[in-house]
């Protein structure tokens, strides 16, 4: 069940995040939102497995993209973001997970809520919507530390400003751009009320980020009238390199 992927491209998204494009010859396709497990094995046999969300849209090619955020004390992410080179091979298991997914047949409004690198599987959903020419209405609320930490900024800008595929709201937690209307801070009830789909439209909500962020966001979505069974979550812990 472990497959081998060959690194065919590397692209730095920010100072700490890198997108790894892998060619996986026996890839059977994936759904937007799914992840893979990556296994690294040291020469002494010690191995570490970490889960990374797929950033690319499902397509007919046998290539996938993973965007990995480097964690200071990470065991795997420093290697993936600093040492991995084109031509290297990685062991992969997946695609994995059948719940935190967006399928192109879905027509209801979609509310995406990302905390930091929690944007990655949500980006796969946005890209999937674009490549499938879906008419589903997407909104993204993207909570991020500072402007320099925003992943996929240019692509999101193009999709929201020109293409109207998705409407994007940024919420900066530590440093906001000059003249930004909202002071830096965590997401709150007012932001949810003003920028997310009204709950009477029964949007399906996808929330991804660190555990505490997901906890806060789902609480706020619940409080604004979204029922729990319309909210799908993907948490990543603070210690496990989970993306």
């Amino acid at each position: 069940m472990w497959r081998v992927g060959t690194v065919v491209a590397l692209h730095d998204e920010t100072a700490t995040a890198r997108t790894i494009t892998l060619k996986v010859s026996d890839w059977t396709g994936h759904l937007a939102g799914q992840h893979v497990d990556v296994r690294l094995t040291a020469s002494d046999g010690y191995s570490a497995v970490r889960s990374y969300s797929i950033a690319s849209a499902p397509n007919s090619e046998t290539r996938i993209e993973l965007t990995v955020e480097r964690l200071r004390d990470g065991e795997v992410s420093p290697y993936l973001t600093q040492e991995l080179a084109v031509g290297d091979r990685l062991e992969l298991r997946g695609p994995i997970g059948g719940w935190f997914v967006w399928r192109t047949q879905q027509t209801e409004p979609i509310q995406l809520v990302a905390g930091g690198s929690g944007i990655v599987p949500l980006m796969a959903m946005i890209r999937s919507r674009v490549s499938a020419c879906s008419a589903a209405s997407f909104r993204l609320l993207y909570s991020v530390r500072e402007p320099g930490a925003v992943l996929y900024r240019d692509e999101l800008e193009a999709l929201s400003d020109h293409d109207h595929s998705v409407s994007v709201t940024y919420a900066y937690t530590r440093v906001a751009p000059k003249d930004w209307p909202r002071p830096p801070g965590r997401i709150d009830a007012a932001l949810i009320a003003n920028t997310t789909w009204p709950s009477n439209l029964a949007p399906t909500c996808y929330v991804c980020g660190p555990t505490s962020f997901v906890e806060t966001a789902t609480g706020l979505l619940n409080a604004s009238g979204n029922s729990s069974d319309k909210i799908r979550t993907e948490r990543f812990g603070s210690t496990g390199d989970r993306q």
């Binding site: 992840h35 497995v49 298991r93 555990t211 993907e234 948490r235």
Partner: protein, 100 residues
């Protein structure tokens, strides 16, 4: 609010480990908690992965639903915390097609 700390993941995160045992994705299945009777997707369970194995707890009452432990060369699976799992038959078909 319950007293648990925020160190858990979602049931989704166990999908890779569970794929070693089950032919189809169990995280999208609905499971009933044997303790409180809540029926939810396994992906919504609270998952603790920092120990020697995987422990999934009910998102409603925190009762243990599933334990998966690797001990030496054996894998132990304990699912007595769930009365049943219900799987989407269409997905069963799809997953067998995928393997074909």
């Amino acid at each position: 609010m319950s007293s648990h700390t925020y160190d858990y993941l979602d049931g989704n995160a166990a999908a890779g480990e569970l794929s070693k045992i089950f032919a189809m994705d169990v995280t999208a299945a609905k499971g009933q908690c044997a303790h409180c009777g809540a029926t939810k997707r396994f992906a919504e369970a609270h998952l603790y992965m920092l120990g020697p194995g995987v422990v999934a707890r009910c998102a409603v009452c925190e009762h243990v639903l599933l334990r998966l432990v690797n001990v030496r060369q054996r894998v132990f699976l304990d699912v007595r915390g769930m009365t049943y799992l219900s799987l989407d038959a269409a997905q069963l078909e799809a997953s067998s097609d995928l393997d074909a």
